[in-house]
């Protein structure tokens, strides 16, 4: 018997190759997206860890200066006078060249070997040249291969806004090659010269036992501190964690959509074969046999699909990892990863999840198949009646699930697992309610369609609701798929809009003069002191503002800060979410309070009126939090200080940015030219940015950051498209007989195409309309988990477009089917 069943199963698949293929594709895509995101995420995370380890090496402690830059004479004191050892100095900077950002790591090869591997693993080249020739670097073996660099080759780099040429004198092979990819190693002298930081170090790595550390700490000069490596490490790790969470969420979402697709196609395969299943029952096949047949078939398809999905996932992952890395580079940390970290565990996980999803999705249809009554199976009407009866109950169960999910969100504090459970409950509950919603929508839809298309419109609506057993599932799957893409789209779009309007509000000056390069470099340099007054004297400039950005130490660890000063009465462009008093500025100017960003408040549970200790050059000092303001420039959070207060307490009068506001009647171009001329005269490589430039640049960074979500959205749409295509194809193929009858009754192919298109369109619209609240809800949930922002619009068009497009092929195919062939199938 089972052999016959197998044969029946095989024959059916043969006959419906297209559907089997779609089924495979659905599973493959779902698994692929999940695996790809997983791989890219893991690779980036691993590379991040490796980079950190490679940088830290075996160091246990690090000496840094509070100002960010350490006097290099201190290293001599440490080694020669105090005999502290092992210790090695490092200076670090960034350079752009060959379409990538390199980390420029200046090391002392004589002491570096005590901590790190790179200079030991000199693969090829000339340490003598590295030490004695200016402008020489070592590249990693990976970079050397990728960029085809050989000893003697020159590399053009932009460092601090200047174009420089360095000479590659060799390559180094780190024990874990990926770890230091994108890192140029130079002698410390060369790095000081290239980065224009003579006499400076960034830090000194040390290996100390606790007693030694204590002894050393007691004798450190002012402004120099000793940190343990572990704390530093975790601070950097925290930075990227939120981002990885984001990606993990998307990977899971992709799997969810993939799983629904599997469920959808498997269900349709069962429904399509109800007649066959009934016949088999009549012929004596047991329930268990049928159950096993359907489940086995699904699992077989699942295994093949998952296998394909893994391969596809590897390919997509390769592409994604670049995007992930770019986001990390823009936001957190310069990291270069081109190698995908493929672990058996990831693949196994993908395979198991793919199979499990298939099995789970096929379980209900398989049970359904087993429950098939011999006589009933042949009769659709029985099934449809049953579906109509069950729909409200399913909807009720769904409502309960949604309510449970929402309740979870309301009570959940932080737990990501809980948030995802909630998300799943909401989605599953919503999907359960879709068939009933379709029935509810039928009445107004009939009226509307009748008004618009006449009889044909009415027929189309009836066609959809009459075949609820099929259309309900198809629409539900489509709804979830579209909702997922819509949800992500809403989240990103809303975030983008928020950032855009925030930029508009925050950038209150018309022209900015600032230090070039990344924020990482900025903390060490200053604008020429007289520049601001010179700029203020330009005719047409009404007022100026000045800012000093950098990093300071606090009771909460290192914090980014911005010290601002405005020649107008009070700074503009701040949107306060909470504040201590109605006017937070007077205590701020007096140095009693600092203002903090929303992210900082959120991460450290701070609120207006709380206290924050900052490590000043005059010792630790307590500030009140005067207010919390909206800021999207960093997700790590930032402290805002009054510049005169900062200058006095940190003994640092320098500024890193100056903003100019122009009179309404001033010639923008003329002022800009004067500013450029003034800046050129300083001889320092400074950037002059127009307000619009900054906005454009910021939005470009934003878009790059979310490029990965765009790609994921495309992938999800791809999955949804396949879903719609398979659902509609199955539906239309099933109704081929019905359509043939219509053709035989004289309905022209054109009219039939119209009818089918209309049905597809209706389902699409229904899914679109239904996906909108779900998508919005998902966006809210995602935002709740990740960022707390509001929403925008982009939903209906997408769903309808996708459904219509997907409906075109079945419609086209149906229209081309001669009535006789279709009738013969009946």
């Amino acid at each position: 018997m089972s052999r016959k069943l197998l044969l029946a199963s095989y024959r059916d698949l043969r006959r419906h190759q297209g559907q089997a293929l779609l089924n495979l594709l659905g599973i493959a895509l779902g698994v692929a997206v999940m695996v790809a995101v997983d791989l890219a995420n893991e690779s980036a995370r691993r590379a991040f860890t490796l980079s950190l380890e490679a940088l830290t090496g075996s160091a246990t402690h690090r000496i840094e200066a509070r100002s960010g830059s350490l006097d290099d004479a201190f290293y001599r004191t440490l080694r020669v006078e105090r005999g502290v050892r092992p210790a090695t100095p490092v200076i670090e900077g960034y350079a752009v060249g060959a379409d990538r950002t390199f980390r420029l790591l200046g090391v002392d090869p004589f002491s570096d070997g005590d901590f790190r591997a790179p200079t030991e693993g000199l693969a090829e080249g000339d340490l003598r040249a590295l030490l004695t020739r200016p402008g020489t670097v070592l590249v990693s073996t990976i970079d050397a291969t990728e960029l085809d660099l050989r000893p003697g080759d020159r590399l053009a780099l932009e460092i601090r806004g200047e174009m420089l040429r360095v000479e590659v004198v060799g390559s180094y092979a780190a024990p874990r090659p990926a770890a230091l990819q994108g890192t140029l190693i130079t002698d410390l002298a060369t790095a000081q010269e290239l980065l224009g930081r003579l006499g400076e170090l960034d830090w000194i790595d040390l290996r100390l036992d606790p007693a030694q550390a204590e002894a050393l700490r007691a004798r450190l000069p002012d402004g120099v501190r000793l940190t343990t490596m572990r704390a530093d490490d975790s601070a950097q790790r925290r930075m990227t964690d939120a981002f990885h969470t984001n990606l993990a969420a998307m990977g899971l979402l992709a799997l969810l959509v993939g799983g629904l697709l599997v469920y959808n196609t498997t269900t349709l395969a069962v429904l399509r074969r109800r007649r066959l299943l009934g016949l088999l029952r009549v012929l004596g096949a047991g329930r268990l046999h049928l159950f096993a047949m359907v489940l086995g078939e699904a699992l077989m398809l699942g295994a093949i699909g998952t296998g394909c999905g893994l391969l596809l996932g590897l390919a997509i992952g390769q592409g994604l990892v670049g995007l992930v890395t770019r986001t990390i580079n823009d936001l957190y940390f310069v990291l270069t990863v081109s190698t995908l970290l493929v672990t058996p565990a990831t693949l196994l996980k993908g395979f198991l999840v793919g199979l499990a999803a298939t099995a789970l999705a096929a379980l209900i249809p398989a049970l359904d198949a087993a429950a098939t009554q011999p006589q009933q199976a042949a009769r659709r009407s029985v099934l449809e009646r049953k579906i109509h009866r069950v729909a409200p109950r399913a909807a009720f169960a769904g409502a309960v699930a949604v309510a449970a999910g929402l309740a979870l969100v309301a009570t959940a504090v932080g737990g990501l697992g809980v948030a995802f459970t909630a998300l799943f409950l909401v989605i599953a509950g919503y999907a359960l309610a879709v068939p009933w919603a379709l029935l509810l929508l039928a009445r107004p839809a009939t009226t509307l369609a009748n008004g618009l298309f006449g009889t044909q419109g009415r027929m189309a609506v009836r066609g959809v609701t009459g075949g609820l057993s099929r259309s309900g599932v198809a629409v539900a799957a489509l709804t979830v798929a579209v909702a997922a893409t819509v949800g992500i789209a809403i989240m990103v779009q809303s975030f983008r809009v928020t950032v855009g309007s925030w930029l508009e509000q925050t950038l209150t000056s018309d022209i900015y003069v600032t230090l070039p390069g990344s924020a990482a470099d900025r903390s060490r340099e200053r604008l020429p002191p007289q520049l601001r007054s010179e700029l203020a004297a330009i005719p047409g400039v009404v007022s100026t503002s000045a800012g000093r950005a950098g990093e300071i130490q606090s009771g909460l660890g290192p914090l980014r800060f911005l010290a601002i000063e405005d020649s107008e009465a009070e700074p503009r462009g701040f949107r306060f979410l909470e504040r201590e008093s109605q006017d937070p500025w007077p205590p701020f100017r007096a140095g009693e309070t600092v203002l903090i960003t929303e992210a900082l408040a959120y991460h450290h549970g701070l609120a207006a009126g709380d206290h924050l200790t900052l490590q000043t050059q005059r010792g630790p000092r307590d500030f009140r939090v005067g207010g919390v303001y909206a800021d999207y420039s960093t997700d790590r959070g930032m402290v805002l200080l009054a510049r005169p207060v900062y200058a006095a307490l940190w003994k640092d009068p320098g500024v890193t940015t100056t903003g100019l506001r122009l009179a309404a009647d001033a010639s923008y171009e003329a002022v800009l030219d004067t500013v450029r001329a003034l800046v050129a005269a300083t001889g320092q490589p400074l950037a002059v940015l127009a307000n619009a430039d900054i906005r454009a640049e910021s939005m470009a960074v934003f878009d790059r950051t979310f490029a990965i979500t765009g790609v994921l959205r495309l992938l999800a749409i791809g999955v949804a498209f396949i879903g719609v295509l398979s659902a509609l194809l199955a539906l239309q193929l099933e109704r081929a007989g019905e359509h043939a009858t219509l053709r035989a009754l004289g309905v022209t192919p054109r009219q039939l195409t119209g009818l089918v298109s209309l049905e597809c369109g209706l389902m699409g619209i229904a899914a679109g309309v239904l996906s909108l609240p779900l998508g919005w809800g998902m966006a809210q949930l995602l935002i709740e988990v990740i960022n707390k922002r509001s929403f925008g619009w982009k939903a209906v068009l997408l769903a309808t477009g996708s459904a219509l497009l997907a409906g075109l092929y079945p419609a086209w195919r149906l229209a081309r089917t001669p009535p006789a062939v279709a009738l013969r199938e009946e």
Binding site: R79, R85, G113, L127, L131, D187, L188, E193
Partner: protein, 367 residues
Amino acid sequence: MRVAALVIMLAAVLGGCGEPDRPEPEPSLSDRLGAGDDAGFARALEPRRFAFPADHGPHPDYRNEWWYFTGNLAGADGRRFGYQLTLFRIALIPQAVQRASAWATRDVWMGHLAVSDAARAEHRESERFARGAAGLAGAQTEPLRIWLDDWVIASPDGQTWRLQAAAEDIAVDLELTALRAPTLQGDAGLSRKSAQPGNASYYYSITRLATRGEVRLGADRVGVAGLSWLDREWSTSALAEDQAGWDWFALQFEDGRDVMYYRLRRSDGTTDPMSSGSLLAGDGSRQTLNAAEVALTPLRWWRAEDGTDYPVAWLLALGDGPPLRVEAVFDDQRMDVSVRYWEGMVRVLDAAGAELLGRGYMELAGY
């Protein structure tokens, strides 16, 4: 005769610093020496006029230079110690390039420190490197000071010296007083290593320095006194193609005689005729020893963990004198540093091994 230093430094600079060991057989000396470019450096071509204390200071025109202290010391209870403290300078390029950074360097410095404890047959060593820039390592004449990190050799007058060096588990802090004037080795200080002109170094020694101070080995700090030996050498090139290594002896006899002799070993194991040394009588009169006047026969070999055999006991015959037995105080005094060599305390006995005639240091390289 400390050509070892040159080899080690070159290996360190060209092969990567701080590399713990190289298991493969060491390349021949000439391979390594050939890697450097001699052009632009001064060379030891003819005898020169030495002036002290100025010549205790650096000679940067030459590529390599070293300050090499070894000594046999004893605690108050008679417990015997040996020590070695060497600071090597090697120039990477003949002329320093004008550069903005104070860290830009022309010289690489390497330091070796070792302490031997005869009672426990324990030998520990330490090695470090630094650039000759940013004050991290260097040599100056006024006042005389040679340093690498906190390892310091200093002398206010060329007569008394202070050596201070500490590593993780060993340290020396010693005050030395020269008992003899500097001895110019070879031909009035020009020490030829091969027949080829320029393959030579300037080489002088202070063969006897009264020493007292403290050595540390592990947790033990021991007050010590004894005799040290200083070797000073600077050059730009050294060995010829067919020379494989050397056996070097610095021996201080109880009767006041001091002997230095280096035997250059050819690749085929025979003694190179350029091998040379000197014998200082108790009154300070010097007699040159050439290869024909010295007979060296290995008596016993010691096999190191990596399988390398070192001749740790010798029969030494100087001219017409009676044969002497020179043997390691204990066998394992190998320097496991960038390039391995054996350097340790020896005693001098009569041929029968019955009577102690003197003490000294021996270096076995190229094995």
